[in-house]
Symmetry: C2
Subunit: 212 residues, 2 copies
DNA sequence: TAGATTGTTAATCGATTAACAATC
DNA sequence: TAGATTGTTAATCGATTAACAATC
């Protein structure tokens, strides 16, 4: 039987499930060279969830496996890419051309493999404007609005000091950005329609020292 | 009345609560210069949780507020630091001296402000060994075991390519590391007693494209 | 066929919220 | 005192797990 994807209501899917799908996708990609087929038990173990949870999560979107056999790795990857909408390329802007911004742009191959393309980098430090950041030339903040609007860009990455994050986020939201990956240590206040993901190594480390 | 901290069973606290405490701490630190006192409603709004949830979370550890008034910001910071065990300095090793490792070490001031001190950096690329990485000199992987053991180091950061992450993690766990912050895109298989936190920008971005 | 594994249901488990007495 | 806000309880809500019929 073919994989049978179901019409589903995007808003009806719990966020906790949506946040697990990228982990499944990452795990599948990592083993795609070695395995054609994988069971929910095996994939769950690699991804850190129970077999039941993996099957339940997937069942919200359709029927992608075969009884007695498991899941075709390549097919499941394609289904997850479609569900997560990474079957197209997303242009992304980067704000902040410090060492972190440099590391992010350097991660370029990885981003592009995963359908994200950093199309412009900005910094408010005029000394950095014009400098090379990987394949990009750092642009002044004033150019941000027109580039985002003209390019219809919906995603942005913030790699700037905490004090500057909120006003820059406001500007981005005003000109159409709807998803922000925030490396700054501040929580952002944004409209409900805008998604924010936080990357903060101190928060991650603090969450582990509790258990030591 | 003074803040009244309760004896609590570390293992009885849900992990989801533990992972929110660092966010409260970050938020409090951000406003500590401006505010002496804050209510659960205000702090919750800044941290992205409901007032009820904030109070419930804190109530697992003691009574830190005053009816009618709210929480003393400085006192609550001190309590959270104690609960999270960041009232001492944690030595941390870093594996991977590429651009990402460089950005992490450059983040040094931030780490040290938050009680984490990167004490050694390693790389398996002999061309990088001996090079300067911020205040550190890159060391060969062979030195890792003795440095971790002699220093009694319990925390490590992985900033290496995915293929190399698992064996390096195994080595670290073998010589006593009990908390790993993993920037590589692979899920690590470790004993139950070892904590792993993942930082993966692609996973974070994928979790947002779903909603666009 | 026999063995294996899915998709799904129902039961369990756990987390969040609403409400309010206590009290600053 | 009157107003405000905590800490906590009980109710609600939601997520996870166990189990199994379906079926490859």
């Amino acid at each position: 039987m073919m994989s049978n994807s179901r019409v589903f209501d995007r808003d009806a899917v719990p966020d906790v499930v949506v946040q697990r799908l990228p982990i499944y996708l990452r795990t599948l990609a990592f083993i795609a060279d070695e395995r054609d087929v994988i069971s929910s038990r095996e994939l769950g173990a690699l991804a850190g969830v129970s077999a039941a949870q993996l099957r339940k999560d997937l069942s919200l979107f359709g029927e992608f496996g075969r009884q007695g056999l498991g899941y075709q790795v390549k097919d499941l990857i394609a289904e997850l890419e479609r569900i997560l909408q990474v079957d197209r390329v997303w242009p992304v802007i980067l704000v902040g051309a410090g060492p972190l911004g440099r590391a992010i742009v350097n991660y370029r191959n990885s981003f592009e493999t995963w359908q994200f393309e950093i199309v412009a980098a900005f910094d408010n430090d005029l000394a950095k404007v014009g400098q090379t950041l990987g394949h990009l030339s750092v642009q002044p903040m004033e150019d941000l609005v027109s580039i985002v609007q003209d390019g219809g860009i919906e995603m942005g990455i913030l790699a700037i000091p905490p004090g500057a994050a909120q006003p820059v986020a406001d500007t981005m939201v005003d000109c159409g950005v709807r998803a922000i990956l925030n490396y700054a240590s501040t929580r952002l206040v944004v409209p409900e329609s805008v998604r924010v993901a936080y990357i903060d190594p101190i928060v991650s480390l603090n969450g582990m020292t509790y258990y030591l």
